[in-house]
Amino acid sequence: MDKNNDSIFTRWITGILRNRKAITGVAIIFIFIFLAVLGPFITEDPTAFLGTPLSPPSWEHWLGTNGQGQDVLSQTISGARQTLLVGFTTGIMVVLIGALIGGISGYYGGRIDDFLSLLINVFLVMPGLPLMVILASWLPPGPATLTGVLVLTGWAWNARVIRSQMMTFRSRDFVSAAIVSGERNIRIIIVEIMPRMLSLLASSFIGASIYAIGAQVGLEFLGLGDVSTVTWGTNLYWASNDMALLTGSWWAFVPTGLSIAIVSFALTMINFGIDEVTNPRLIAERVWRENIPMDTVVNGITPVVRDHE
């Protein structure tokens, strides 16, 4: 009978689908996910030795071969699989932990908040990069370790943001009204407040995913991942090890680097789109600028457009 949650989601999804920026981002991400899932069925074995090492793009190997004689196209497509998996898993977990700890902290306040804020602050002041490097080199390498390390060093900032947002919602009248009507706290948090934070949660997820992909590639590039697996990070690690840069074999690292850039770009586009969908003012201002002659736009002075309409 609770048809309302549908409505907010429907409103959102239609908004996003109508937004040019967001739809571009979503399309790109879908293409990459599609390739990542289908990868093993459409590419050759990315680890097989197939030709002369570091041979340039040809009909046989569209993007050439790397220092190990492996097909770069297959490597790039296969690499998407683990990189995106770790990236998005980290994104989801960062948001979940952030929402849980930040949400509880902000909603309940008092001693609970004192304790949880302290915890958040401790993780915030810990130097993330060295910690990541130490943990990643000390734990057995692999995707689980990477995810764990990235979540551990990344959740606190999100928790902080969600906590402050929660605190402002906590003092709103609609929350008081729910309390007065006898609603349980947990239900107030999940059903009343969380949908209001959807835009924050969504953009936190996107931000955390971008961070996770970047940091993960960085760690693997340093050789702190499992170098026997094929990911975008290890692709770059091997390219560097095989001195692709020194020999001018651009095809060994450009496809992977470009993929990372395009995925980050697409995620950022989705974020802009979410911004515009949840903040109609941004769209209104854009439309306003498009609709009036350029020379009438002066900061702080309302334009007069007599032939408007």
Binding site: N4, A178, G182, E183, W288, I292, T302, R306
Partner: protein, 558 residues
């Protein structure tokens, strides 16, 4: 006698949206004569603020002035160059904005903010600037010793005066006052208005006064224009408007709110002939206190918001809790609804002599018996949920009704509060409704559990004037139909008089006076109550301003 200082001709303002442009101001024309007070009245969304902001061309995007003329000193401001617009702002016309309490920069002193205007627009030497600044402060009755204070050190009324001083700094011939007193308490509001009118007499500027409160405007305006949905519906001398006006909408506004003085007009709100109150109080509050602690390391402070308040409420009674902002009235509401815990004192519900303020957890039963209606209907409904959700949740939580009967019950509740047809309203989201409709939903939600006691915290203060009485009427009707007990919290003595049986007057967290509504209004004992009543009655201006001989014939109608 065509000595108009400001002439607006066929002004149109559009807000650009992805769809069709919204016509916020549609073909509005009026002229303001030298030296007069011209009032522009309208409810929220009527376009009155848009008009005055268009005059100064300070409308933010996505607004566009789509046509018309704004002529000041024979020059059309809408066709001048941008540098000329800058020149004319503040020198020819200045504005005191709606959110005046936030108009001051918190990190600059009063002196810096006033001198800023003087330096920008005049060539005064620094000594002359300082003299002028001091002169301005004395004009608005603020001691020169406040010159180097920061805005947060000033009271709301003082801040408002400083903003007016800044508007006066260059002595423009026209000053626009856009709801200059909305955030202030009644008594302060009246003082400031009297001051403005006195200054006008002294300095001879022309005033364009924007407000939603027609009754207030009729006290001092020479001519009044009434706006609705972006159009001017009526423009006439104040006396003519006061005696009824021509347009239906004008009459609706005139009749909207009763006065705190004079005989009680019969039939405004239904009241039972004989109050049949129970013997046992339904709610008893004993020595209730609440202080908020500011646990700073360096100067821990504690502020007593509610001090030792005791009162009883009997079944079927409507109590009016009247006080200004900061009097602790909303805190009392939160204490009784147990959103916060008292520092000291007890609350007894239903004469069961059971202290309800002790336990940390609030029993569900208490939640069912005591409900609340909040001030802001935009904030008290959750924008992501439908009306249906808002009404269904409490019923499901308290298991008062089976799922099959739920929808019928909700539709019935909606129709009880005047939202017909209920089926349509049940599916609406808050943003699809007007403020009045939302407040009705909030009332329906409070009523849906069948509570014994409803606390209504300023339920009408954020609503348009013309619908306030309708909302109060729901409460009056529910009391008769459901024998509901209501604590009606308000800053407006007049509406308390018409709705409540008994009135408690709060000041600084304590009850200063209480009594039967009519008795209290007619023969108040405390000085503070007298002040409040005076401020809420027609003719207050005469009693506050000094040598007001020219306007005496206009004011004082009862």
């Amino acid at each position: 006698m065509n000595s108009s200082v400001l002439s607006i001709q066929n002004l149109c303002v559009n807000y650009i949206t992805p769809g069709d442009p919204v016509k916020a101001v549609n073909d509005v024309s009026f002229e303001i004569q030298q030296g007069e007070i011209f009032g522009l009245v309208g409810e929220s969304g009527s376009g009155k603020s848009t008009v005055v902001q268009a005059i100064l061309r300070i409308l933010p995007p996505p607004a566009v002035i789509a046509g018309g003329k704004v002529i000041i000193k024979n020059k059309d401001i809408l066709s001048t160059s941008n540098t000329e617009v800058m020149q004319y702002r503040w020198k020819q016309i200045s504005i005191v904005m709606q959110s005046a309490l936030n108009a001051l920069n918190p990190v600059l002193t009063v002196r810096e903010q006033i001198e800023d205007v003087l330096k920008e627009h005049s060539d005064l030497k620094s000594k002359a600037t300082e003299d002028r600044t001091k002169e301005l402060l004395s004009l608005i009755d603020i001691d020169v010793s406040w010159l180097d204070s920061y805005p947060h050190q000033l009271s709301g009324g003082m801040k408002q005066r400083v903003v007016i001083a800044i508007a006066l700094a260059l002595m423009p011939p026209v000053i626009i006052l856009d709801e200059p007193t909305t955030a202030l308490d009644v008594i302060v509001e009246r003082e400031i208005l009297a001051k403005i009118i006195e200054l006008r007499k002294e300095l001879g500027f022309t005033i364009l006064f924007i407000t939603h409160d027609l009754n207030l405007l009729l006290e001092f305006a020479d001519r009044v224009a009434i706006m609705k949905n972006g159009r001017l519906v009526e423009l006439d001398k104040a006396q003519k408007i006061r005696s009824g006006g021509k347009h239906d909408y004008t009459q609706k506004l005139i009749r909207s709110l009763p006065s705190a003085s004079g005989p009680r007009e019969k039939g405004l709100l239904p009241r039972p002939e004989n109050l049949d109150l129970g013997e046992q109080p339904i709610l008893e509050v004993q020595n209730l206190s609440k202080s908020f602690h500011d646990s700073g390391i360096f100067n821990p402070r504690s502020i007593d918001v509610v001090k030792n308040v005791s009162f009883q409420v009997f079944p079927g009674e409507i109590i009016g809790l009247v006080g200004e902002s900061g009097s602790g009235k909303s805190t009392i509401a939160k204490l009784i609804t147990r959103l916060i815990r008292p520092t000291a004192g007890d609350i007894f519900l239903k004469g069961s002599n059971k202290k309800v303020s002790e336990a940390r957890r609030v029993p569900l039963e208490y939640r069912k018996q005591v409900q609340m209606v909040f001030q802001d209907p935009f904030g008290s409904l959750n924008s992501v949920h439908t009306v249906y959700h808002h009404l269904a949740r409490p019923l499901l939580r308290h298991q008062l009704i089976s799922e099959q009967d739920l929808l019928d019950h909700i539709i019935e509740m909606l129709e009880t509060v005047g939202l017909r047809p209920g089926t349509t309203f049940a599916e609406k989201f808050p943003h699809e409704m007007s403020g009045g409709e939302r407040q009705r939903v909030a009332i329906a939600r409070a009523l849906s559990l069948g509570p014994d006691l409803i606390i209504a915290d300023e339920p009408t203060s954020m609503l348009d004037v013309s619908i306030r009485m309708e909302i109060l009427e729901i409460f009056a009707r529910m009391r008769i139909e459901k024998n509901l007990t209501i604590i009606f919290i308000t800053h407006d003595l007049a509406s308390a008089r018409y709705l409540a049986d008994r009135i408690l007057v709060l000041q600084h967290g304590s009850i200063v006076e209480q009594g039967k509504a009519e008795d209290l209004i007619r023969s108040p004992k405390e000085q503070y109550t007298k002040q409040l009543i005076k401020a809420a009655s027609p003719g207050w201006l005469r009693s506050l301003s000094f040598n007001n001989n020219t306007k005496d014939k206009d004011v004082g109608h009862v």
